[in-house]
């Protein structure tokens, strides 16, 4: 007969070093084991979907920056794609290539952050975060060079991108993509992939089975770690992704370690895509002329992009006015988080933190 102990309710969050924002996880803990988890979201709710109904379509672009502030470019892109689909706007070739380049750069920046923060949740004392931030900074430097902002870029526009790239951008990108980052990613692999402690901490932790993944409609690295080959860039190509050759890394076990491997591998694949896109980058305008207060015809449109966290979808309904009638975001952070309970119950607290870190949520996008 085991010792009967009283489960204790522990609030992990909203103020906790590793909840990645103001996310709250109410865990019932029996000893070190978790018996129940309740997720409490909404601490960062800013009512963006409602606010957007009062603003014009162009004015809504900054909201998408502030949803997933670690991947602003893909947020911008997804929203602009949905409005373009609704209004039937053709986007110039050059703009499409620029969009691909910037959303892949953003993927690298976001995955750097996710990997670093994940190892930090495993308990490394800030070192991997610092290494990953070092490389993320270089990507953000390129953003700053192009659009003046590092985090909330507000770069994509309906009908193209806000600015053409400056002259010094392509040499800098070439240095980064060909000389710098490949060695950095090698370094990550050497430091992280064979690391026994990380294996012990992340292997068989936070397992997602394919059934769970499909039932909960997970996307992104979460889905791919479960062994299901799915990527919006391949399944429903947008921009010029159908002209790029790249591979989708897919895991076997669905655990936290696989997700880390997939993120590192995806960063490498992003480099591949960027090289091809730079090689094929055509001349031409970077933006079609679209009225600032665009009035798409009445109707609805849904478009999706593969954001670093998963499938980011934007559903826009227009009644013919200057502002969307209804705007809804399919936030991958929220949907990926929905399996947290199944993943963590039965694990220790330490494992739960690792699991949460491996999901790579962003509370700005989670609560919107």
């Amino acid at each position: 007969m085991p010792i009967k102990s009283e489960p204790v309710e522990v609030n992990i969050g909203p103020q906790h070093p590793s909840t990645h924002g103001v996310f709250r996880m109410v865990a019932r803990i029996d000893g070190e084991r978790i018996v129940d988890v309740k997720m409490v979201v909404g601490y960062l709710h800013r009512s963006m979907e409602k606010l957007a109904e009062e603003r014009t379509f162009t004015q809504n672009i900054p909201f998408t920056d502030r949803m997933d502030y670690l991947a602003a470019m893909t947020g911008n892109l997804g929203y602009c794609l949905s409005v373009e689909k609704l209004a039937g706007i053709e986007v110039p070739e050059r703009a499409q290539y620029l969009r691909v380049i910037f959303s892949e750069l953003q993927r690298i920046a976001s995955h750097c952050m996710a990997t670093g923060a994940f190892i930090n949740d495993c308990g490394a004392w800030q070192t991997p975060v610092m290494y990953c931030f070092r490389d993320r900074e270089k990507v953000l430097d390129l953003f700053e060079m192009t659009c003046g902002a590092r985090l909330t870029t507000n770069y994509m526009r309906i009908g193209g991108v806000a600015f053409d790239i400056p002259d010094e951008f392509l040499p800098a990108l070439d240095r980064l993509v060909n000389d710098d980052l490949p060695y950095r990613f090698e370094e990550y692999e050497q430091l992280l992939v064979g690391n026994e402690i990380i294996m012990m901490r992340a292997r068989d932790v936070g397992v997602v089975t394919p059934e769970m993944a499909i039932n909960a409609s997970l996307t992104g690295p979460m889905l791919r770690s479960a062994g299901i080959a799915w990527d919006t860039r391949k399944a429903d190509p947008y921009c010029v992704y159908d002209r790029m050759t790249f591979d989708i890394p897919v895991g076997y076990n669905g655990d936290a370690y696989d997700r880390m491997l997939i993120r590192i591998e995806e960063m490498k694949q992003s480099l591949r895509i960027i090289r091809q896109a730079v090689h094929q980058l055509p001349d031409g305008p970077h933006k079609t002329d679209v009225p600032l207060a665009i009035r798409p015809p009445a109707g609805e449109a849904y478009s999706r992009v593969e954001s670093p966290k998963g499938e980011l979808g934007f559903y826009v309904v227009s009644d013919g006015g200057p502002a969307p009638y209804r705007w809804h975001v399919r936030a991958p952070s929220l949907i990926n988080l929905s399996v947290l309970k199944e993943m963590t119950v039965g694990q220790t607290i330490a494992d739960a933190i690792v699991t949460l870190g491996s999901i790579d949520i962003n509370v700005g996008e989670l609560d919107r």
Partner: protein
């Protein structure tokens, strides 16, 4: 005789602290606090041992009692539910107090009544090597018996706390 001034002062301070801590063990309300005061009393007793020129025993006292037994006790206390962590007394506290008082009186009487043959010897100095000699030469049989006893205690503790297989969880 103990007649170094510093040691005399140290003895009375340590004795007062130890007795105070022991009384706190008896009268403090929380069991965990009682364990912590007990640990403090153990450390005070170790100081008394140093005064009595038994440095090896003193260090062993700190290591075993303050380091291990007190920790084990806190562990056991934490295994019990919060409601049971009271240091309350049973209804027998009054007879127990009387009995303890009687024992004290007897001890005091005996110790003051007996004519002790006091040897005027100096401090023992380093005792570890001499104790080792004593343990392995004249007292080797008790030493081995003690090791068997520790082994038995270990096995017994494991058997007692082992989760029996087949029993429902």
């Amino acid at each position: 005789m103990i007649n170094d001034t510093g040691i005399v002062v140290a003895f009375y301070i340590l004795a007062a602290t130890t007795v105070g801590c022991a009384l706190m063990v008896a009268f403090v309300r929380e069991l965990v606090q009682a364990v912590l005061f007990l640990a403090l009393a153990f450390v005070g007793i170790a100081g008394i041992y140093i005064v009595l020129s038994a440095d090896f025993v003193a260090v062993v006292q700190v290591l075993i009692y303050a380091g291990a037994v007190a920790v084990l006790m806190t562990f056991a206390v934490m295994l019990t539910p919060a409601a049971d962590r009271k240091n309350s007394s049973t209804a027998f506290w009054a007879p127990a107090a009387v009995l303890a008082g009687l024992v004290l009186v007897i001890i005091v009487f005996v110790s003051y009544d007996t004519n002790w043959q006091i040897a005027n010897r100096p401090q023992f100095g380093a005792t570890a090597a001499a104790l080792g000699e004593a343990l392995l030469k004249p007292y080797v049989v008790p030493f081995e018996v003690a090791s068997v006893l520790l082994m038995t205690a270990m096995v017994g503790a494991i058997v007692l706390t082992k989760e029996e297989e087949g029993e429902d969880a």
